[in-house]
Symmetry: C2
Subunit: 184 residues, 2 copies
């Protein structure tokens, strides 16, 4: 019933669909940055915690390591272009919030900003780190939560091979969509 | 554009939809066990690695810690009942494979078995652990991959509030479904 295949072949079935999120941080020069992430999970009920995986060469990696904080932002379907921009550009030399047209709003418990356009924002303080191959896991306690005034937008997903999505945007290996609604 | 809410309120938007998987291990008495997990992510390209979150009180937690191995199995829509069973019962006193009607197949690189019915199986060796609140993250290197002969089944998901799913099974807080196909 099973056939042995390469890990990358098996991985194709494991990867999609997945939620795509933004991890937001702020550097020592007070420039906010947002990175698009597919590799994230919840990791504790009490206290509520999330874990994210970031490669060491990404600009956000050292900023989150040094500040010990990040905001996890949950994008809606209307944010596809901004998320693609944040996922394919480095914040080392540009202001991603400005260039992607994102609104930085003050958070309550961390210095990193909320994304005004997001469906939800989770303020996180780093409680642990783990090196894993070519990435680092940052485990963050959610210390404050925010949701959008307008929740009438679908979640942005990295879509899989199923056909029941509205296709929104593709670039390189990324394919963004949203689960189709009944009435469409 | 954002309103401050409780963490659990914001968490609702973060949690669903999500892929649901099985983590399979085998104890010192050679009894295989499978736990249903929603909290998992990829965490490295090279070597390929995944991370899973398991509560210390779960039977699988200590087995995976002691054996340093697990298999990540990706269920199709036809496995909803078995996954629900594995997610709501403990393997401490029962043989979940037998009771859930799952077929244990020999793996290549680990002692824990593959799930014969799954869409894919990823054999993993634990390379790191991190305590996170009320769970432990196990980071595993994928050392071998397998896919089903029959891939013509949709992925099983924990579904969110969107309407474009075929509903498969509900129990307690769990709601399983699959993304609806175009032609349905």
């Amino acid at each position: 019933m099973q056939k042995s295949v390469s890990v990358s072949e098996a991985n194709k079935i494991w990867q999609r669909p997945q939620r795509i999120v933004l991890a937001v941080c702020i550097d020592a020069q007070n420039k906010p940055n947002a990175i698009a992430l597919g590799w994230k999970m919840t990791t504790s009920h009490q206290p509520p915690m999330v874990a994210i995986s970031i490669a060491p060469q990404r600009y956000s990696h050292d900023v989150i390591h040094e500040t010990g904080e990040f905001v996890l932002s949950i994008p809606g379907e209307d944010m596809a272009e901004a998320v693609m921009f944040c996922g394919t550009r480095s914040g080392r030399n540009i202001d991603k919030f400005q260039e992607a047209g994102l609104t930085a709003l003050p958070a309550k418990e961390v210095k990193a900003p909320l994304v005004g356009e997001a469906l939800a924002n989770l303020e996180c303080k780093v409680r642990g780190e783990l090196k894993t191959g070519d990435h680092t896991i940052f485990a963050g306690e959610i210390v404050a939560g925010h949701v959008a005034e307008n929740l009438d937008r679908r979640l942005l997903l990295c879509t899989g091979p199923e056909t029941g999505y509205d296709h929104i945007l593709s670039q390189g290996a990324y394919r963004f969509g949203a689960v189709r609604n009944d009435h469409e």
